[in-house]
């Protein structure tokens, strides 16, 4: 704010000086020129009346000649000063307006507004650098859950997108280079409520710079980066970047998992999907020969994971030299029927279109389907705005790197335990995943699955925490009981319990809850709401443990409660 005031004064210095000088000359002239009063005596205007006259004349209000009609000499002078003062005013107001329109001045203004908005944030927030496809999805998901975000993007049109996107809660945003430490500081990197910096700029180099500056400015702050390149990822990891997401690698892993253990793949899909989308159905990718078009970052990752699963692939790549494709690769674009025939498309069971051009990918899929109508189709989608045509093409699986990154980061923020769970679950058999799937199906009503985490801390679960503090034994079963009917269970499945450094997969219902425990559940949204109530309300907790309501108010406590309840209450 101060900076703005100084800038304003500095720029308005000359208009103001010109104004003062013009006024003083005008006033002095009026005082010096002799006039005649109403009796015909010589008279001179004094400073007070001269100032009054110039004030209303200069601002073109014009009350007439006061206190006495002017002489011709006075009128001549007045004619001169009318033009002088009006022009001076125009100059002054013009300078003020041009200053307000000035790009630099507006930048200073928006920077000050941004800094103030960030400083006033009271709840935990995340700094998101880059409002591209991934950044915007993440901001939408987080703000729909009431979590604050701060957005920086160097592209002004992206920030304008944010303003018209209609996000319910206020998202402070700034056009600026997030790699600049000044910008990061203004975005609240040292703010006590800042939880993480998330770099999704679309440029690996810039993400790297953001990670370095963030780690140097606040070493304890979590930094999450997207990286499409192994070298950069290694560099980011070397100075302690907490999470590095390579969407191509993530997809490759999932894709291979689909062959390795289809049920496990589905468990993963369900638990990581956003809660407002219906669950995907089981898809069984056929085993046999696959055709992979494009050997870029995407193709390399997919072919790496497919070869691990011993799935034979035929590669097609237009530029075999710079991509260092294997010798068996067919050197062509893949959009022509001839090339696909050469790759034995009619015998292949699946085609993967993985070039960095959406039109080419669609063309590959459609041509392949013409030649082999039964073929399983997988395509990489580079731009989010092409959603409609990819949907219309009815492709079995589409892979959009930005969406994968956004989903992954959302998982890290919302349910960090999910990573632990999945890690442990991958070691299990397909059979185990099958049982879990059928249990999950039993808990959900309308096809929506919610995944949530609770932490036994005084602020997150006060009822449980206080209960433990008073020496009560609380079992996992209690937390999973319906607070409206103590005989019924909530429709949820405890997936993981983390007690200190122990991770218990699918914990038993008779597990004892301890403070600082963290628990991961999945189930329907109703169960989530009931559990939130239960862990916050001591009365509900008492009810699910004993099946009795204890009286809450003073009057009822005094006159209507029996001994044993009183005991528990006063403990």
């Amino acid at each position: 704010m101060q900076r703005i005031l100084f800038l304003l004064f500095r720029r308005l210095r000359w208009p103001l000086i010109v104004l003062v000088i013009t006024y003083s000359i005008a006033i002095l002239g009026l005082v010096l020129i002799p006039g005649i009063d109403d009796q015909g005596n010589p008279w001179r205007m004094d400073f007070f009346h001269a100032f009054y006259f110039v004030s209303f004349m200069g601002s073109t209000i014009g009350f007439g000649e006061i206190p006495y009609p002017f002489t011709d000499a006075q009128r001549m002078w007045t004619t001169v000063i009318i033009y002088a003062t009006v022009i001076t005013w125009l100059y002054g107001i013009g300078s003020l307006l041009s200053l307000l329109q000035d790009k630099g001045f507006r930048q200073v203004l928006s920077f000050a507004r941004f800094t103030k908005a960030v400083r006033n944030l009271q709840t935990p927030f995340y700094i998101i650098c880059g409002y591209g496809d991934a950044g915007s999805q993440l901001v939408h998901e987080l703000s729909s859950r009431g979590i604050n975000c701060v957005v920086i993007d160097c592209n002004e049109s992206k920030i304008l997108d944010l303003e018209i996107d209609g996000i319910q809660i206020e998202v402070p945003s700034l056009t600026g280079d997030a790699a600049d430490s000044e910008t990061l500081l203004a975005a609240g990197i040292k703010h006590p409520q800042c939880r993480a910096v998330i770099a999704l700029t679309g440029s690996d180099k810039q993400n790297l710079t953001i990670a370095i500056s963030s780690k140097l400015l606040t070493p304890k702050l979590k930094v999450i980066c997207q990286s499409d390149n192994l070298d950069n990822a290694a560099n980011m990891a070397s100075f302690g970047t907490d999470h590095i997401i390579d969407p191509f690698d993530v997809f490759g892993q999932h894709f291979a998992m689909m062959f390795h253990s289809p049920s496990m793949y589905l468990v993963h899909q369900w638990l990581t999907s956003s809660s407002d989308k219906p669950l995907t159905d089981f898809q069984d990718p056929p085993r046999g020969n696959w055709v992979l078009c494009g050997f870029g970052r995407f193709g390399k990752s997919v072919s790496h994971y497919l070869s691990k699963e011993d799935i034979p692939t035929t590669l097609i790549e237009a530029d075999t030299n710079s991509t260092e494709a294997p010798k068996t690769t067919i050197e062509a674009r893949g959009t022509e029927a001839d090339t696909l025939k050469m790759a034995n498309i009619s015998d292949a069971v699946g085609i993967i279109a993985g070039t960095d051009d959406d039109t080419n990918n669609l063309s590959i899929i459609i041509t392949a389907r013409d030649l082999n109508p039964e073929i399983f189709t997988v395509s990489r989608q580079n731009l989010l705005r092409n959603n409609a045509i990819f949907d219309a093409a009815k492709i079995h699986m589409t892979m959009h790197p930005e969406t994968i990154a956004a989903k992954y980061i959302l998982g890290l923020i919302k349910t960090p335990l999910l990573q632990d769970f999945l890690e442990l679950a991958y070691e299990k058999e397909d059979e185990w995943a099958n049982i879990l799937l059928s249990r999950v199906l039993g808990t959900i009503e309308n096809g929506m699955l919610e995944t949530w985490e609770i932490e036994i801390t005084p602020s997150r679960a006060p009822a449980i925490y206080n209960g433990l503090l008073q020496g009560q034994a609380i079992l996992l079963r209690d937390i999973c009981t319906d607070p409206r009917d103590y005989k019924a269970q909530l429709s949820c499945i405890p997936l993981l319990a983390r007690q200190d450094d122990n991770r218990i997969l699918m914990p038993n219902m008779s597990t004892h809850i301890d403070d600082t425990d963290r628990l991961l559940f999945c189930g329907n949204a109703q169960a989530y709401r009931q559990m939130r109530l239960l862990i916050n309300d001591p009365q509900s907790l008492h009810y699910v443990q004993t099946g009795k309501d204890y009286p809450g108010g003073y009057f009822w406590k005094k006159f209507f409660s029996n001994e044993s309840d009183q005991e528990i209450y006063t403990k």
């Binding site: 800038l7 004064f9 500095r10 003062v20 003083s24 006033i27 002095l28 004094d46």
Partner: protein, 127 residues
Amino acid sequence: MSLEKIIFAFFSVLALTLNFSFFIGDLDDPLHHTAYELFAALVVSLIATIMKFGDRAHIGALLLATSLVADLQLIAATLVWAFAIYVAEMPMTPGIMSIIVSLSGGALLANLVSVTLLVVETATLRR
């Protein structure tokens, strides 16, 4: 030597000297203090103040503050003058004159501080 510095110093010193020439003379004698001098002192003081706008250095802020004090004192003096003569319609008495002149005396002090600061700043530059 820059033109900006010259103009800046010129107006600062001129504000002081004009203020002084209005102030000098018997405190309560209207003949020793003319309205023209007060007018000139006020105008130059205002210009000097605007010159000091937008300087973010510490000494710059101090200069601006002293100038603002001088303006305030001089404006108060003119207001007293205008009020006594035109609103209360009194003749100019030695009592009123002494109020006006002592107010401008306050402005003189502020201007003196301002010029002293200017000299100190220039001296520390040693160029």
